[in-house]
């Protein structure tokens, strides 16, 4: 069966974008890992990266096909921890 692949481009500040094609069922976490490899980035307990579409955070478990487009432009960004109050 011929499966139509989806063109994905991932932008990251100050670098040439990562570009590849993926089958619709590929998890976005796979795309993220490959893009991070090209950008020379690694996750750590302190630094978590996320893919965004139109500014909205994407779940690594979601698939490329769930975005519903034949061509997808994503942004890779460093997740920012927010301050929290106290309990009580």
């Amino acid at each position: 069966m011929n499966e139509k692949k989806i063109s994905v481009e991932v932008a990251y500040t100050g670098q040439d974008p990562y570009k590849d094609t993926f089958a619709p069922e590929v998890p976005l976490g796979t795309v993220k890992r490959k893009a991070m490899h090209q950008f020379g980035l690694e996750e750590s307990s302190a630094d978590k990266y996320i893919l965004q579409f139109d500014g909205a955070n994407l779940d690594d478990k979601a698939t490329v096909g769930s975005l519903g487009k034949p061509e997808v432009r994503l942004t890779l960004t460093l997740k920012k921890p927010q301050e929290k109050g106290y309990v009580g």
């Binding site: 139109d54 500014g55 909205a56 979601a62 927010q82 301050e83 109050g85 106290y86």
Partner: protein
Amino acid sequence: MSDKLGEFLDKHDWELLGAIKGWHVERDAVSPDFVRLTLPASDGEKYILRCRCDGYPEQAPGAVFIDAAASPNERTAWPAGTTEFYQVVKLPPASFLCTDLTREGFARHPEWKGRANAWNGTTHTLMDLFNYIHELLNSHEYQGRCK
């Protein structure tokens, strides 16, 4: 008059984001400083976050969960969770979200102003708050609708 909130809302494809994230975003027709985000939690429950956006984007938005009658004072409008969850989510009668992305958070923690990731009108948008609340409702700290 500049309508930065309108510019933000016009900039995004809410229909597509609705399909991807399950979000429904609407600006109040009568009180245009208010925006409501309906979003799903990990258990399929849907919550309504009402954002007060006067002074946007310079001033951080106010944010509360409301019920279908637009009341933030009913516990069933709010999500429940772990102790860590309640560092942010303050149930009725307090009814606010204690984070550095809301004006209620800054009112109680003025020391947060100017910190690296705190709300800054030049770098933050309502999308940052939407993302934060979505992650909170889909985290391991979330434990269902409050009773």
